[in-house]
């Protein structure tokens, strides 16, 4: 297992962590100042600044991407919606490519419309089939441009609105189905917040193997958790055994960044400088 205690070369910052404090150019500047070597930006943050400007800032600072957030949301109420989702995922792939991301993270979606009201349908098996078909169609284009797709299983408490892929096993089953030759074009993003509870986590990380482990996200699970979306904890403040889990994923062959992704009203209310400094300190001490 790599030693994280002496530097933070293995740290990446998911830029949602300080999205309420700063726009993306300031985030990149503050990361560069702290020698944070990688970020994972969100499409809305990139769009707000202009993607060419973001690409230029990354070149100037030498900051890499650990992932690009996000594609997905494949299920839809009708054929036009399904087509629109595919078109949007192509655009996300193009953006990820332009920014030099190692993968496009997929939050696959679930019951269509559930994010903003009653869903168009309630059949989660149908949503899962539409996700499978959507990834299959997107994978062709992703392969043609060389942009790996990373399926992110989301916590079961987000199964209605955000993702109907809810365990690492389920994500890997889909990888086996759509990419049986293990081409490297399809894999998973393992976010401990979503999967820490899973009794099959260690075994499924081994099953995934280095070629399917495309991203690794860390934060912590607070006990109690007071909100289903925006109450993630800083590493060390919750119950996840972070070092044990990193041991598992490294034993499975993963050597990439540990990407800190904290959706938290509590941390969004703090000065961005404090958040980044705390991320670095905790990365060394508990990740």
């Amino acid at each position: 297992m790599r030693d994280f205690s002496t530097n933070h070369d293995g740290l990446s910052l998911n830029t949602a962590t300080v999205r309420k404090q700063w726009p993306l150019d300031r985030i990149i500047e503050e990361c560069a100042r702290r020698e944070i070597r990688a970020i994972a930006p969100w499409r809305d943050q990139v769009a707000a600044l202009g993607i060419e400007r973001v690409a230029a800032l990354l070149r100037e600072t030498g900051i890499a991407l650990s992932g690009y957030c996000r594609g997905g949301f494949f299920p839809a109420a009708d054929a036009a919606g399904l087509r629109a989702a595919l078109a949007d995922n192509r655009r996300a792939i193009d953006e990820a490519k332009l920014l030099g991301s190692p993968c496009l993270v997929l939050v696959v979606g679930s019951l269509p419309g559930a994010l903003s009201g009653p869903p168009a349908y309630y059949d989660i098996a149908r949503a899962r089939a539409e996700v499978r078909d959507g990834i299959a169609a997107t994978l062709e284009y992703a392969k043609s441009v060389g942009m790996p797709l990373a399926i992110e299983p989301l916590h079961p408490m987000q199964a209605a609105e955000r993702a109907c892929i809810n365990t690492l096993e389920q994500a890997l089953d889909l990888c086996d189905e759509l990419d049986p030759q293990r081409s490297g074009a399809l894999g998973v993003a393992v976010d401990l917040y979503h999967v820490w509870w899973d009794p099959k986590l260690a075994a499924q990380l081994v099953r995934a193997g280095a070629d399917r482990l495309l991203a690794y996200h860390v934060c912590d699970w607070l006990s109690p958790t007071r909100d289903l979306l925006n109450d993630r904890g800083m590493m060390g403040d919750g119950v996840i055994e972070l070092k044990k889990c990193r041991g598992w994923i490294e034993a499975a062959g993963y050597r990439g960044f540990s990407e800190v992704e904290i959706f938290s009203e509590q941390w969004w209310a703090q000065p961005g400088e404090l958040v980044l400094d705390t991320c670095i300190a905790r990365h060394k001490s508990v990740v």
Copy 2:
């Protein structure tokens, strides 16, 4: 699949559903008035009234139990705590027996102390081992008095505090380990609120079979859900495909009650009469 539309003979009421409106004697009286044939009471409600009085009321009204809530919470910080949990589970078994329950429902527990503060330890694998050992020890006594134990997998969002058994598959793996002969003494309580999201639900219900399906709980999953514990929905108000799921469990051989269990600040704020009448109406129309 049984026809629930013409009567509510298949309905049981988990008495937590109206626990803030009424004490248990009033709950039993209101159920009897509505010809609700079964309830699943909680130990604190029974203790408040006196178990002999509860037993007498059940005899007088002819109301049966669909389960008794609850045993479990096996993990502990030390050996004395583990022993205390075993002793408490024996008492729960005795109470369940006295009340004529068909099973004792087990909410197995997880990180010790997490319900009230920082846990005594963070090793969820240790908690799972202590759960296994605790059920194994309890099972001997349960068999001796003829009280089946029903392991209830709880939603992964409750994995830190309440139960480290979080999928039906995990619960059934434990049944296979501790009761390979399928004696009938160990099975599962399937609460749709906890397992509706699981892509393996249908397959695991088949695997369980009639002899391991000891209880079936219904409510609904609200979208959005605003609280991790007390925001369950009335059947029909959320996204769970209730009839499809009942079709699965009946195809697997289950013929018992559908037990309505709604932890909800919203419904606790309503008149108890309205809650019960709504449960009956929804049982007929959407369960």
